[in-house]
């Protein structure tokens, strides 16, 4: 039956993509149930999770998946777990019932079987994917990740016509209770003849409070910490897949604006230094610090029954310098020179290709587009005359953004 669905889907897809720039996006997730996760205190918990290769323990959260709005997504779930069946629920993506991942209403994927999920990426935003088989256990065990839908052009924009930003960071909050990770809980009975499995669940007393799967000193790692330059616009994607509520407190100097939730814009946007995120919710927050800063985003984990704060974690924040003309350039395969420029502007490449340029002014207006560019191995002179000001230059290849560079024109 799965194969039949696949063939039908490709026939429909091959007809529908003609004339569109959107793409077919394939993702593979391998469901595992013998993962190991080293916690901040050195203890190791058994986990379930989604990996993208058989040679690794499944990361927690699972790999972040991407598509652009309008892309046709094929998600291949390969169950190599020797235990319970698994599914992918595409949380918030509003897929049809067959692809919704609730076992008794769609299908479940058994050991050494593949299941394919198909959908067209909807509104740009932040979504979850997670297993929906005995979801209380399987989500706690680690079977979750984030699915990000970018705008149709893949740009650093919240949605088509939305806010432009310089960088984005994803923070996924969750917790772990070591008792739930014992074999007696994780190896729960699963009777595939039942439409709804009835499974004993322990009381929930989490002792690990996680941001991107990390806690305490682990949050000091560069991939977690928020680093920004002054006036740099950062889009924070914040998501709660735990069983406690999160109260997020931003340093006032970050000038946080809450602009979206659950894949939809918030109109009007809400200026607030405090944000509550309950289980299953996702929020988009735009920050633009104007001063140097060393501080932290405070993440309080709040018991849904008692309303008591059970734990607080801190995401380090460092703001220094002016938005990085040099810093950004050195991270990129492309470099703009001279910069600042009072005349012609060149783009040097390490050989990485680009075939289009978009230039935005300081307030985000698109002021110049150049397409069908054929450039040499390492240098391209832009054929544009710009007035004095501050510009963002996007380099694209096959309609996807390869780099976003800053230019000062004198």
């Amino acid at each position: 039956m799965i194969m039949k669905r696949t063939v039908l889907f490709f026939i429909v897809l091959s007809c529908s993509i003609i004339g569109h720039t959107q793409q077919i996006v394939n993702h593979l997730l391998i469901a595992r149930n013998l993962g190991e996760k080293v916690m901040h205190d050195g203890d190791t918990l058994r986990t379930f999770g989604f990996a993208q290769s058989l040679s690794e323990h499944p990361p927690i959260p699972g790999p972040t998946l991407y598509a652009n709005e309008g892309d046709s997504v094929i998600l291949d779930l390969f169950n190599v777990s020797q235990g319970a069946p698994h599914t992918i629920h595409l949380h918030g993506l509003d897929v049809n019932q067959e692809n919704d991942g609730v076992p008794h209403l769609s299908f479940e994927v058994h050991h050494m079987d593949h299941g394919f999920y198909y959908f067209v990426a909807p509104h740009p935003g932040t979504y979850f994917y997670h297993c929906h088989v005995v979801s209380s256990i399987h989500v706690q065990a680690g079977m979750y990740g984030v699915f990000i839908v970018k705008p149709s052009d893949g740009s650093n924009t919240t949605w088509d016509g939305g806010y432009s930003f310089d960088q984005e960071k994803l923070y996924t909050m969750s917790e772990m209770d070591p008792v739930w990770h014992e074999d007696s809980v994780m190896d729960h009975p699963h009777d595939t003849t039942q439409s709804i499995h009835e499974v004993s669940i322990p009381e929930y007393h989490p002792t690990y409070f996680l941001v991107n799967g990390q806690s305490e000193h682990q949050l000091l790692e560069p991939d977690i910490a928020l680093e920004s330059a002054k006036e740099e616009l950062t889009f924070l994607r914040m998501a709660n897949i735990g069983y406690l509520a999160n109260r997020i407190t931003f340093p006032e100097a970050l000038n946080a604006i809450i602009i979206s939730s659950d894949g939809r814009p918030i109109v009007p946007a809400e200026t607030s230094d405090t944000l509550w995120i309950c289980p299953g919710e996702r929020y988009g927050v735009l920050i633009e610090p104007l001063v140097d800063l060393t501080d932290a985003i405070k993440v309080s984990f709040v018991n849904m029954n008692t309303q008591f704060i059970e734990n607080v974690q801190y995401i380090p924040v460092t703001v220094s310098g002016i938005i990085g003309i040099e810093e950004i350039a050195k991270e990129s395969p492309f470099r703009i020179y001279p910069n600042p420029s009072s005349g012609s502007v060149h783009i040097a490449s390490d050989g990485s290709p680009f075939d289009a340029i978009k230039i935005y002014d300081a307030i985000g207006n698109l002021v110049y587009v150049e397409r069908q560019i054929i450039h040499g191995a390492d240098d391209y002179q832009m054929n544009v005359s710009l007035s004095k000001g501050f510009y963002t230059i996007e380099l694209l290849h096959n309609d996807r953004i390869s780099a976003s560079l800053k230019l000062v024109k004198n």
Binding site: V95, V134, S200, A245, D262, I266, C278, P279, E281, N305
Partner: protein, 285 residues
């Protein structure tokens, strides 16, 4: 239909301009809930009849209605009835006594009525329901969210509440848990693609819930706690204790889709998955 039926509206007695006079009666009853693990849990409810039902009556009226609500106390101790957000309250009603309340609302919305007597103990024992004023012919469904911590119930019934940590084991919608919520026609959303469907949600429990919809985003029409959130379109709606929400859904696709608390402890009951706050919506083409 039993306890979940819309409160019996007896007659429209007279018209005063566009206002319709309605009389209705509600009974304060005491009984027990038999849980699925076999235990009996003492419980109190506002019911449509003098017979105890575990689900509090859902009172649903038009915004043009002026309701005279007779409250009859069938219990052995005094109780009250206060309409939170409507400025209506009855003082203590002695056992066997009754009072009449006049209730109306200029604007549509979802509200909570509850027992202010010995607050919050009687509310914890069950005495809290939902009152809705409507101005739409759209299909309406009603979810009264409530939890039960049997230790708290035991303490309140016997020696008074001393525990500080609330740790409920039962998570109910209109007094039911999964899969029985789907048998409640007031709770189970059934409709067609393109219908306008209103879902009235009241949290009369003591926990915060986070209600996640599969298949659809809904528009928040009313939030008693965050009026500035009105108009937001979401798939997950937190609701704090004593908060109400009114949600509007226009299904764009057919199918059977779950709705559940995404605090996934609350989809369990007596520590059994999935016997908690979980139901499905059935949308036909």
């Amino acid at each position: 239909m039993k306890c979940i039926a819309i409160s019996l509206v007896f007659f429209a007695i007279s018209f005063n301009g566009l206002s319709t006079q309605i009389t209705d009666t509600i009974y304060i009853n005491s009984g027990v809930i038999q849980s699925f693990n076999g235990s009996n849990i003492p419980f109190k409810s506002y019911n449509n009849t003098a017979v105890f039902e575990k689900s509090n009556a859902i009172l649903s009226y038009s915004v043009t209605d002026t309701v005279t609500l007779t409250v009859i106390n069938n219990d052995s101790v005094a109780h009250q009835l206060r309409c939170y957000g409507l400025g209506v309250s009855a003082g203590a009603i002695a056992p066997g006594n009754q009072v009449d309340l006049s209730i109306s609302s200029d604007s549509p919305g979802t509200f909570i009525y509850y027992d202010q007597e010995d607050y919050p103990n009687n509310k914890i024992l069950g005495l809290a329901g939902m009152i809705v004023f409507r101005n739409s012919s759209a299909s309406s469904f009603y979810w009264n969210l409530k939890e039960i911590d049997t230790l708290w119930v035991d303490e309140i019934i016997n020696n008074g509440l001393t525990s500080t940590e609330y740790n409920p084991k039962f998570f109910l919608i209109n007094g039911n848990h999964n899969p029985n919520i789907n048998n409640d026609p007031m709770a189970r959303v059934i409709g067609n693609v393109g219908d306008t469907i209103l879902i009235h949600v009241a949290n009369t429990g003591s926990s915060t819930h986070s209600i996640h919809f599969h298949g659809y985003h809904l528009e928040l029409l009313q939030s008693s706690e965050h009026s500035n959130h009105q108009g937001r379109i979401k798939d997950t709606f937190p609701i704090n204790p004593m908060q109400v929400l009114t949600l509007r859904m226009v299904p764009h696709q057919p199918g059977e889709y779950p709705v559940h608390d995404h605090n996934l402890v609350a989809v369990t009951g007596a520590n059994i998955y999935p016997n908690g706050m979980f139901l499905t919506m059935l949308i036909d083409p």
